[in-house]
Symmetry: C2
DNA sequence: ATTCTATGTTCGTCATAATGAACATCGTTC
DNA sequence: GAACGATGTTCATTATGACGAACATAGAAT
């Protein structure tokens, strides 16, 4: 089933595009010449906006009108530590789990990230089409784009678009994770 | 300049799609569950409809949402008897005027139409992508799609999309015209 | 000519979208 | 901790889109 009401479509779309631009609800409202309350209600699925309202939003977000009616593609992939396609026999002393294959025409840089709780590391958007793959080694961390962060425990894998603001936030001391940045070349 | 307000875009689009379907304003209104007055105001460029209203219209017209925001391409070509690109010297005893060239992949059937005043001949839509070329030989006739009829005198040429309801109406006795139907094959 | 049915328009009323102030929360700074 | 700024939410009020009846007009049928 794919029958969403226009309300829901728009609610998702506005939130998606807004967070993609890294704009706050208040900021978007004032730039678009709308009341905060109006936006708030729209993003929560309530309301039935007029086209002038939508037009102002689309222009301010610098997207085409129809973008506001497109369904949000997840663009993320989450594989928990106990999930995934395992390679190797059940009795073997080692196991490998395929987390993501490598598309041709992409380059991958590997980082190790050491995090301590309390400080949320916010990363500015990378070039369009960039993805990040994150695997937690030690501890627990909240990772991902602003609009779709995930709580990851040791062994969990998360892939998300990195061409928008995203965060790394450790929940335990000594948290370590591996981050692979995937860029098109 | 291509900066139309959403109002105008929608006004044009609704009228275009409605007449393309051959629906009356009242009929569309009742099918879409809207008041006639609402549609009337929208089509006259006044008003600032809500998305629920637009959604109902789009669904009833069986078009995608974004269709209602597309600009209306004219799709018609009108060359009066004294216009057009003439071939041959000015002193020659004959002149030819190129009215339309023949795109590859199209087939053209030629008809002669004899009309008398008083009876409006309404033609039902032909397959999508069909065009008609009409040249009046004798008399005067009103020809074209419902939303864009043209008064043609002898020698006038008119090309219009025929995948929607269109009419031939003679204004003088003994009116004759040549109609070429262009279909994709 | 007269009625009847369809067309699209205009208007007063009502429902509701948009507003702005007040509110609640959270981080940051002093 | 207190004060501050920015976040997004909730509410009353106001502006306005949607409605439906009445209207004007045109064609067709009687």
């Amino acid at each position: 089933m794919d029958s969403m009401t226009p309300n829901d479509l728009i609610a998702n779309a506005i939130q998606r595009e807004r967070s993609r631009k890294g704009l706050s609800l208040s900021a978007l409202a004032s730039r678009a010449g709308l009341a905060k309350s109006t936006l708030s209600q729209l993003e929560s699925g309530k309301g039935n906006p007029s086209i002038e309202t939508l037009w102002a939003i689309a222009e301010t977000l610098d997207v085409t009108f129809s973008t506001l009616f497109e369904v949000s593609k997840p663009d993320v992939s989450l594989i928990r530590a106990d999930e995934g396609a395992r390679l190797g026999s059940d009795h073997a002393t080692f196991q490998t789990t395929l987390l993501a294959n490598c598309p041709t025409g992409t380059r991958r840089d590997v980082y190790r990230v050491d995090l301590e709780p309390g400080s949320t590391r916010k990363s500015t958007p990378h070039p369009a089409g960039t993805f990040e793959h994150a695997v937690v080694c030690v501890g627990q961390a909240r990772v991902g784009p602003l609009e779709a962060t995930e709580m990851l425990n040791a062994g969990d894998y998360y892939r998300y678009p990195a061409d928008r603001p995203h965060v790394y936030e450790a929940m335990e001391p000594g948290t370590q994770l591996i981050v692979v940045m995937e860029t098109r070349d």
